[in-house]
């Protein structure tokens, strides 16, 4: 897979480390009533999407930026690559 890095251009996916579903941005509120339940879900439960999913890739052997990919888990097609910092700002 080739990942089109927003700053560096096309890079081989083997330069990256995979972290999984971008849902990890949504860290549960530590003051919530259902804290244990929320963290259990956050830590262990996944949609495991069949089709397009947003996911976190870390450019470990490159510029060490975190990216958010929109990638199809059935075809491996990547239709969008964003810097995680920007993704987070937009999805606040």
């Amino acid at each position: 897979m080739i990942i089109n890095h927003p700053l560096l251009g096309p890079r081989d996916s083997s330069e990256f480390t995979y972290r999984g579903d971008a849902i990890l941005f949504n860290r549960p509120d530590p003051n919530s009533e259902s804290l244990l339940e929320d963290y259990y879900e956050y830590q262990y439960i996944r949609d495991n999407t069949h089709g397009f999913m947003k996911e976190l890739w870390f450019h470990e052997q490159g510029d060490r930026s975190w990216l958010v990919l929109t990638r199809n888990t059935v075809t491996h097609e990547i239709i969008r690559v964003e810097l995680a910092s920007e993704y987070k700002r937009e999805n606040k």
Binding site: Q43, Y44, I45, R46, T49, H50, T73, V74
Partner: protein, 416 residues
Amino acid sequence: MTYSALKIIKEALTGHRGWKPVWQKSEPKKSYDIIIIGGGGHGLATAYYLAKKYKQTKIAVLEKGWIGGGNVGRNTTIIRSNYMLNNNQAFYEFSLKLWERIEKDINYNAMVSQRGIINLFHSDVQRDSYIRRGNTMRIHGTDAILLNQDEVKKKYPFLNYENARFPIKGGLWQPRGGTVRHDAVAWGYAHAADKYGVDIIENCEVVGFEIVNGKCIGVKTNKGNIKANKIGVAVAGNSSKVMNMAGMRLPIESHVLQAFVSEGLKPILPGVITYGAGHFYVSQSDKGGLVFGGDIDGYNSYAQRGNLPVVEDVCEGGVSLMPMIGKARLLRMWGGIMDMSMDGSPIIDKTHISGLYFNGGWCYGGFKATPASGYSFAHLLATDTHHEVAKNYTLDRFKSGLTIDEKGQGAQPNLH
């Protein structure tokens, strides 16, 4: 049809005209007592043990493709019971014992070959942890032998002992480990289940569940709706997709694992060798091909094919372990979808929906588990209680903190 030496002689003399299909193709009836979704090794074994051991009748196995098209026909065929954690060791030892008598049991030649498996170690620390694992195995009554470098050299003279980064210092050897012909396991269980009257229905994809007042009463398929009292799901890499139809989310990610086979060679490899440090393991099939693999690709995937960086990584590992492999040509490679769980261990449990049972999370090691998985899933479906060896493979262990994390990697499925 029963297979025997006598039958082979008879058929040889009469022009092989009397062989019948290994199992009958069935079409769905309106209702069953028990439906198993997924005609892989686990689903078929479950149906077989349900019928034979737990005396259940009116059972159907629904398979969306063909028998043997899933992971049961894609794996690298290794069986072993060299785990360390109590919860795993008892289960996998039970499985190995079932493998040891499976051919008689199902009346099918699965070519079970206990040619031994060795896990290589490269440092003092790794040796100590293997000693610990070996001792745990022996406490469970499993065979485990620690080999030093000379003993490994005698068995496998062709390995590279001079590797600067990972010099081979010895290995933990399990003589009873080995390989089984994977297709024959699928066909054999299908054959045996069919003999007990199980309907094996291919090209039948489950596309939904019928759930009324918290009870699952049937499935929707491309061949119509089918009712059942109990429904067991054993769909490996598609676990999340299928359970999602019942509104459930799982502690599982689907990942692709690749496997490779070389052209046929004369016998050179006496057993299974695993080289964890180099992301490589290998055995030789009876046809002569070197069957090998490495790590999962590492990203979520439902595509039954991987990418080239892992191909390179696996081949590099192979050449660094046994340089002569560089002369062999790669014949075929393929991928299968692993149901990677959050602690690297499987789940065999009821769900919160009455009548709906789940079996999954097998990661890259579910082939060797096939008999025990089928046996204990059948136990659960028939008796509504957990089988002794599988009682800790619960869905709620992630909530209670009783995870079974053999590798100690935490909730990161691609690292297990």
